[in-house]
Amino acid sequence: MEAHLEPAPGKKEEPRGRPRHWPRGVLRFCRQRPLGAVGGGVFLIMVLTALLADFISPYNPLQTNYGAMLLPPGGQHWMGTDAFGRDILSRIIYGARTALLVGFSASFFGATLGALIGVICAYFGGKTDVVIQRLIEILLSFPMIVLALAMMAVLGTGLLNVIVAITIPLVPRSAQVIRSSALSIRNLPYVDAARACGFTHSRIMFRHILPNVVAPYLILLTAYLGGAILTEASLSFLGVGVAEPTPAWGLMLKGAAVTFAETAPWMAIFPGLSISAAVFAFNIFGDSLRDELDPKLRTQ
C-alpha cells in the first residue's frame, strides 16, 4: 500500500499539462482497467508475433509434409498439422500478420476517409451535407459483411482487395460519428473567427476542425480493428478473401478443416480460438480506451 502512495506527489503534476511520464499512465490504466489491460496485452503479443513471425515460427507455414498429415497436437507440432502436413502453429503465427495487416489498414483507411468526409459534411452543411448523408445512409443500410462480400465479388480475391472491401463499409460508419463531433465544433466561435481571419475552407477544415476531433477518431480506430479482423476472417472463410496458400485464420477454418472436423478438430479449434481471442481482446481494449479518454472529451 505504501509503495502505491509513493508516486502520489508526482501524480499531482499531471493536470498541469499532458502527462509526461507515460509509463505511469500505463500503470494507472492497468490498475484501473484490468480487463482492458489484458486486451492490451493480447494486442501487444499479437503485434509482436506478427512482427517476429520469421524468427519464432517453428516451421515454414507453406511447407507441405505428406509424411506428417493430420498429426494431433504434440511435441513436434504443438497445435498439430493440417491435411497437407503444414504446421498449424506456424500458420497461426503468420496468419496474425495477415489479420493485423488487413485489420490495421482497413480500420485506418476507413476511419480516416470517414473522418475527412464527416468534417467536410459538418463544415459545409446544406446541400453538400444532405447529398453525402443520403449516400452514407444507403451504404449503412447494408450489413458490413454483405457490403464487403459485394465489394469482393466486384474486385476479386487478393490481399489488397480485401483491405479495400473492408475499408468501404467502415467509411460511412466513421463519417457519421465524426460528422456529429465536427458539427459541434463547427458552431464554436473560433471557427467563425478563423473565417473572419480570411482562411481558406480547406485550412479551416483540416487545420482548425480536424485536430479537435482526434479523440473520437482514435476511439473509432481501435473499435474498428476487431471488426475488421473478424470481417477478414469471415471473407476468407467464405472463400472470397485472401487466397490459398496465404496463411489466414479464416482460411484455415474452411475446406479440409470442415471435412476432418471430427477426426482432426485441432485444425479448426486453434485458428478459431485465435480469431475469438484477437477480436475479444481488441474490443475490450478499445472499450477501456474509450472510457479512459471520454471524461477528457467531455471537459473539452
Binding site: 473567427a193 473572419a196 482562411f199
Partner: protein, 336 residues
C-alpha cells in the same frame, strides 16, 4: 434619406448604404438589418449601439460577408470599402479582405481561440496567409504584437495553449491577431462584454490606443453608452434593424434626438446624480423583427408616441451639425 452622410462628410474608408440583411426562417422573414446606412472615416472610431437583437452584430457580419447563408442573406445595399463594393467581390477576393483589410475582434475570447493550437501558431497563421511571411519572420512579428498588447514574456507565451491564458489575456491575443496584418478597419463586436469589469477598461484603452497608433479605423459594437461616450468619435444608435440616430458622441450625449437614445441614457447609472435616484428603464420588449409594427418601430415603447407615429415611419431628419434622428418630435426634453 439614403445619402444623408455624403452631404456633410467626405467619402470615408467604409460606407454602408441602405444595407438590408434578412433571415428567411420558417416563422417568416426576419429583417435583422433593414436599411442601415453609416460611414467610417479613416482612423475614426464609430460605435453601433443598441440592445440585443437590434442588428448590430449582423451589420458587422454583413460587412465581412459572413452572414450564415441559409437562412441569412444580404438582400440590398452597398458596402463600399476603400472604393470597392464588397458585395460585388468574389469568394476568393473577399477572403483576402477578411483578416487583411478588415479584421474582427469577437465577443467571447474564451471560445474564439482554437484550444488545440498554440497561441503562436494562431498568430503566425494569419500572417502567413495574408502577408506571405516565413515562419521565423511571422514569429518575431508575433512577439512584437504580443508586446504591443501588453502580454509579458511573449516568446514563452507563444508556445502556450489558449487554456493557459485568462479571459483578458485571450482578448489581448485576439486584438494582437486582429492588428497583426495591418488592417484598415477593425470590427470590435462587444469586445468587453464577456470580461471582468476591471479588465473592460484596460481592453478598451488598449483598443483605442493601438488603433490610434496604427491609424486603424474601428467599428465598436456595444450596448453600453458609457463606453461610447469615452471611446467613440461617432455614434449610430440602432433599433429594430434600423439606425434611429446618428451623430458625434458629444452631441448625442448632450442632446439626444431620439426617445430611444434618451431611454438608453436614462437606464445607465450616473455618478453625478444622487445615489438614491432610481434608474429609468425602457419598458417593454424589442419588437419581433419578423413582424414589425406599422409606423415607427419604437412607438409601442415610446412615451412620446402619438397617432402620427403609428401611421407613418418618421424620416431621418437633419438636426444640424451632422446629427440625424428619425423621430417626428422636433424637440425632446433635455436630459434629467
Amino acid at each position: 434619406m439614403k445619402e444623408f452622410q455624403s452631404r456633410n462628410r467626405p467619402p470615408g474608408i467604409l460606407e454602408v448604404k441602405d444595407l438590408k440583411t434578412y433571415f428567411f426562417t420558417p416563422g417568416g422573414v426576419v429583417k435583422a438589418v433593414d436599411g442601415v446606412s453609416f460611414d467610417v472615416q479613416e482612423g475614426e472610431t464609430v460605435a453601433l449601439v443598441g440592445e440585443s437583437g437590434c442588428g448590430k452584430s449582423v451589420s458587422a457580419l454583413s460587412i465581412l460577408q459572413l452572414v450564415p447563408n441559409p437562412p441569412g442573406k444580404i438582400v440590398n445595399g452597398r458596402i463600399i470599402f476603400q472604393g470597392r463594393d464588397l458585395r460585388g467581390l468574389g469568394g476568393e477576393e473577399m477572403r483576402k479582405v477578411r483578416g487583411k483589410e478588415i479584421a474582427m475582434v469577437f465577443q467571447e475570447p474564451m471560445t474564439c481561440l482554437n484550444p488545440v493550437l498554440t497561441i503562436g501558431r494562431q498568430l503566425t497563421e494569419t500572417m502567413e496567409e495574408h502577408l506571405n511571411l516565413r515562419l521565423a519572420e511571422a514569429e518575431s512579428r508575433s512577439v512584437e504584437f504580443l508586446k504591443l498588447v501588453g502580454i509579458p514574456d511573449p516568446p514563452k507565451r507563444l508556445r502556450q495553449y489558449p487554456h493557459q491564458f485568462s479571459g483578458g489575456m485571450r482578448q489581448r491575443v485576439m486584438i494582437a491577431m486582429a492588428l497583426s496584418c495591418n488592417p484598415r478597419l477593425i470590427l470590435a463586436d462587444e469586445p468587453t462584454t464577456a470580461l471582468d469589469v476591471t479588465i473592460q477598461a484596460q481592453i478598451l484603452e488598449l483598443l483605442k490606443r493601438s488603433t490610434r497608433e496604427m491609424k486603424v479605423a474601428m467599428i465598436l459594437i456595444t450596448h453600453n453608452l458609457g463606453v461610447v461616450a469615452r471611446y467613440a468619435d461617432r455614434v449610430n444608435v440602432m433599433y429594430a434593424g434600423k439606425v434611429v440616430e446618428s451623430g458625434f458622441s458629444r452631441e448625442i450625449y448632450h442632446q439626444p434626438g431620439h426617445p430611444y437614445t434618451l431611454g438608453l441614457l436614462h437606464s445607465v447609472p450616473r455618478l453625478d446624480e444622487p445615489r438614491k435616484a432610481k434608474l429609468d428603464p425602457i419598458e417593454g420588449q424589442p419588437p419581433d423583427l419578423a413582424n414589425l409594427p406599422r409606423g415607427c418601430s419604437f412607438r409601442p415603447r415610446c412615451r412620446f408616441a402619438d397617432d402620427l407615429c403609428a401611421r407613418e415611419t418618421p424620416p431621418f431628419r437633419d438636426l444640424g451639425g451632422d446629427h440625424f434622428s428619425s423621430c417626428w418630435r422636433e424637440e425632446l426634453p433635455r436630459r434629467r
